[in-house]
């Protein structure tokens, strides 16, 4: 098993014919992902790495049975793209696009809930389950099949951590990039809940950062609901208040969202914390 996605997901890519779309359709296909369609209005009939392009999501769904969408369109068109996917009854939407106005994200996150769809992101690197599928822009080479679940609010930092797990021969069940924005469709609690139920996951790694209270909420949830060992790294211990540290969501606002508060909350929930990102692998090796 894996969480949220598996080898059966039939992926359509919105924004398939752009530079990113073309590159990552190729990358996903070589990872083993079933990429069945691309959507770019006005480009129907073209192909990208032998994947047919359609003018609309509805058409792509009708012709190919796509049930998952990867959204790579520019920020100002992202709201339209996600609504289109949800309206075409797509049940898993992964939004990679960064810099989407958060009011737009608020709208489509609520519409996804109404439609009973799983929405990952925005500003997510995607989700990968080694040996099964990869939906997103995560580099394929860092993964190894195994039993550690990873959920993270960042991109490159996660690659670094996953890569260090691989170097210690510790594989992953699913690695989900939740996204660096303040409004995201899937949070730590939802990921933890899925990992707890997943038989193939034996331990969970959380990569958090300053901003919001997602880690504090997760810590409370872990106390009551999670039996598997949880490890974490929190970025931004030295970030000053009021500054947005690269990610739209990484900001200490009105005293809330400090790394200190998150670290304390995790310690209380018996989550083991790493000092340096690459130490996570040592911690997991030691305890699992």
């Amino acid at each position: 098993m894996s969480i949220f996605v598996n080898e059966k997901n039939k992926v359509g890519v919105q924004g398939a014919t752009g530079h990113q779309g073309v590159f990552h359709i190729g990358e996903m296909k070589s990872f083993g992902t079933k990429v069945v369609a691309g959507v770019t209005p006005g480009k129907q009939g073209e192909e990208v790495h032998s994947v047919p392009i359609f003018n609309s999501v509805k058409k792509a769904v009708n012709e190919t049975g796509a049930d998952t969408s990867l959204v790579l369109v520019p920020a100002r068109f992202a709201k339209d793209a996600v609504f289109e996917a949800l309206d075409a009854e797509i049940k898993t939407v992964v939004v990679i696009t960064e810099n989407i106005p958060f009011h737009d994200a608020m709208d489509f996150v609520h519409y996804a809930k109404y439609k009973n769809a799983v929405l990952i992101g925005p500003n997510s690197p995607g989700i990968a389950s080694p040996g099964k599928t990869k939906i997103g822009i995560l580099p394929g080479g860092i993964f190894l099949e195994g039993e550690v679940g990873v959920a993270s609010r960042s991109g490159t930092l996660t690659y670094e951590i996953v890569n260090s797990l691989k170097e210690k021969n510790i594989g992953q069940s699913t690695c989900v990039g939740l996204g660096g924005d303040p409004i995201i469709g899937t949070n730590f609690i939802e990921a933890l809940n899925a990992f707890e139920k997943d038989n193939e996951t034996k331990a969970v790694v959380l990569v958090g950062e300053i901003g919001g209270t997602a880690e504090e909420d997760a810590a409370e949830y872990i106390k009551e609901n999670i039996s598997k060992p949880v490890f974490a790294f929190i970025a931004g211990r030295t970030a000053p208040p009021g500054k947005r540290m690269g990610h739209a969501g990484a900001i200490i606002a009105r005293g809330k969202g400090t790394a200190e508060s998150k670290i304390k909350a995790f310690e209380k929930a018996d989550v083991k914390l790493a000092k340096f990102p690459t130490d996570i692998a040592d911690l997991v090796e030691e305890h699992v």
């Binding site: 100002r76 009011h103 960042s154 930092l157 660096g180 909420d217 540290m245 690459t278």
Partner: protein
């Protein structure tokens, strides 16, 4: 993007929210069209200006002149006052607090109202703040407003006044892609009108493309940070003396954090993002040089980004433009060996691990 108080009030007026009569005062003789008494207010993008002496009430023109010259140019928590706003005093019957912000956990707009107006909301007891969440797909409904106004000890006409302001700021929050709209205090005047005496408005940077009528002032950024923003580079100036360049926001933060274990302190956060474009790399180094760090610490993880392409860009800018501080690099991931060779060749120090690089950077920067 934080707006100055007077800019926020300009927006309030667009939404028909009453504010006192006021104007920006250019010099100490510029008090026409204002009735005494009035209040002079420093325009700074930070709270606590009253305590810092940035707000003064003038009963006569002589006072106004004295206060104006005191406030203009004063330093409030690192911000020099360059604009002074003057507005007429109003007679206050009641002071309230009202705001709309984003609840990240519930992923909804959150309205907060309190009768403890005029105070720092963080110091107000939780049971005195009334909250209401709005489903963004449905929008604000009368019941939402009733839920909170019913808890206030107000007269019937006052409730009506406040209810109108609530629906107006919700509209503004949504129409202008706000992160925060705060009125503290929102007052009921002695003649029963709701008036916004202050404004705190933050507009979501990512939505600025659809608000051409809002002037992108970025009042809380340094000159270099503004420059970086125009170039699309995530760049933040901090208190220390080590300039950190990494790819990805999380990794850049983690790199800054790593320095503290060796008594080093970051002076710049620079996130290269997923780019290996030599032009972007060049711009990043140029910005970094202008910030004058004692040491530059370049930390790269190549996932999709190829380390050697970034290294080539770094080498090109360093050989061409020179660099006047040591550069310590730590490279991991795709094509790391080739990248290390290129950087060594450019005369840069290549460290093996993050810890090693952080320790060496900290030592070279001479601690804090």
């Amino acid at each position: 993007m934080k707006l100055f108080e007077y800019r926020g009030k300009e927006l309030f007026q667009k939404f028909d929210i009453a504010v006192p009569n006021g104007k920006l005062v250019k010099d100490e003789n510029d008090f026409s069209n204002l009735n005494l008494p009035f209040v002079l207010k420093a325009q700074v993008p930070i709270g606590g200006r009253g305590k810092a002496g940035g707000i003064k009430s003038a009963e006569n023109i002589d006072d106004a002149k004295t206060y104006f010259s005191k406030i203009m140019g004063m330093d409030i928590k690192g911000f020099t006052v360059k604009k002074v706003y003057a507005e007429e005093k109003v007679n206050i019957k009641k002071e309230l607090y009202l705001s709309i912000t984003l609840d990240r956990t519930k992923r909804m707009p959150l309205i907060m109202i309190s009768e403890e107006g005029g105070m720092d909301i963080e110091s107000v007891a939780d049971e005195k703040i009334f909250k209401e969440w709005i489903n963004p797909l449905i929008g604000i409904q009368p019941f939402n407003i009733r839920n909170i106004t019913s808890k206030l000890r107000l007269e019937k006409d006052e409730v009506k006044e406040i209810a109108t302001v609530i629906s107006k700021i919700y509209k503004m929050f949504r129409n202008y892609d706000c992160e925060l709209v705060e009125i503290n205090p929102l007052i009921i005047s002695s003649n029963g009108k709701a008036i916004a005496l202050d404004s705190k408005v933050i507009i979501n940077d990512d939505a600025m493309f659809r608000h051409n009528d809002v002037i992108p002032e970025h009042v809380d950024l340094t000159a270099l940070e503004k420059d970086a923003k125009e170039k699309g580079i995530a760049f933040i100036q901090l208190e220390g003396n080590i300039g950190v360049i990494a790819n990805g926001a999380g990794l850049t933060m983690a790199t800054l954090d790593a320095l503290t274990y060796f008594e080093g302190k970051g002076g710049v956060f620079l996130d290269l993002g997923g780019t290996d474009d030599p032009e972007k790399v060049k711009q990043a180094f140029e910005l970094m040089k202008k910030a004058k760090p004692k040491v530059i610490f370049l930390n790269l993880f190549g996932g999709i980004t190829k380390c050697d392409t970034v290294a080539k860009g770094v080498k090109a800018v360093i050989t061409k433009e020179g660099i006047d501080c040591p550069v310590i690099t730590r490279i991991k991931g795709m094509n790391e060996d080739a990248a290390k060779e290129i950087l060594k060749d450019a005369g840069l120090i290549t460290a093996t691990t993050l810890q090693d690089a952080a320790e060496r950077s900290s030592d070279m920067a001479g601690g804090v």
